[in-house]
Symmetry: C2
Subunit: 140 residues, 2 copies
DNA sequence: TATTGTTATACTCTATAACTATA
DNA sequence: TATAGTTATAGAGTATAACAATA
């Protein structure tokens, strides 16, 4: 029963290792991590605002502003005026963003996909179950 | 049994969320993530070289060189000549590094520790088991 | 006053490239 | 030639602070 503290240290270490490994695997033409998360979220959930996206992705609104500006510059998202609040801008995928999203889902994280494919089914289940738990932790 | 691809996408999303949440939680006086990993590793495994640490932590030797230089500047690690190869430098914890390591283990990741403490025991087991799997994936 | 977003600036972490010293 | 490490430079991602516009 003991060692939750020790296990937490190991969990953080494992997270760091995996994140750095995934970063190394990312091809040059690829989207950044937060960029890909935003593209995916807009694709699933539709238009949103910078403040809302920042809250959902656990970054400051200014940071999300920079991310959105980069995506906008790349032509992957576009702005549309908010119907009732002129302070806000609704961010939505452009046609290129919609198209890219398919490619991203197919091609990105190919390394992780393939590495996970070599795990035991039971380990895979554990990993995916932990993914849900981590998402919940991250938002608590 | 389907959806491994979908689950992989969600796993990456969860990793990103949790990493950003942990980053936000890190106090200003705290060690960076890789720095803490190096301190922990030196504490557990004893002296090591820059190239070895880079390999173990999944970064380039130059990047690890910068990390070590920062830790050295902070007085947390020190160099000692390699007994037989004058190209290499053995990096070891200083007295301050040893002392800090205890504090780091006690105080760091306090938020994660407490969040994990509120999980079901079964979820905690899943999370820690996934930690081992992720560490293995990261090194494969 | 509070909220949304922008601009300016800086820090952390990591990368690539070119170099020196040693093996 | 190959390996260990350093130096120089750059980029991504995020932060804080100060500001403008709108509610």
């Amino acid at each position: 029963m003991p060692r939750p503290r020790h296990d937490t240290e190991e969990l953080v270490t494992a997270l760091g290792l995996l994140v750095r490994r995934l970063r190394a695997e990312r091809a040059a033409h690829d989207l950044g991590w937060t960029e890909a998360a935003v593209i995916g979220r807009l694709g699933r959930g539709g238009a949103s605002t910078i403040a809302e996206l920042a809250r959902l992705e656990n970054v400051k609104p200014q940071s999300m502003g920079a991310t959105i500006a980069a995506l906008e510059e790349a032509g992957l998202v576009q702005r549309k005026p908010h119907p009732s609040d002129r302070r806000q801008a609704l961010i939505e995928l452009s046609a290129a963003g919609v198209a890219l999203r398919k490619d991203v889902r197919e091609a990105k994280r190919a390394w992780l996909q393939q590495a996970i494919g070599r795990l035991d089914p039971a380990e895979r289940d554990t990993l995916f179950a932990a993914g849900e738990i981590m998402a919940r932790l991250a938002q608590s």
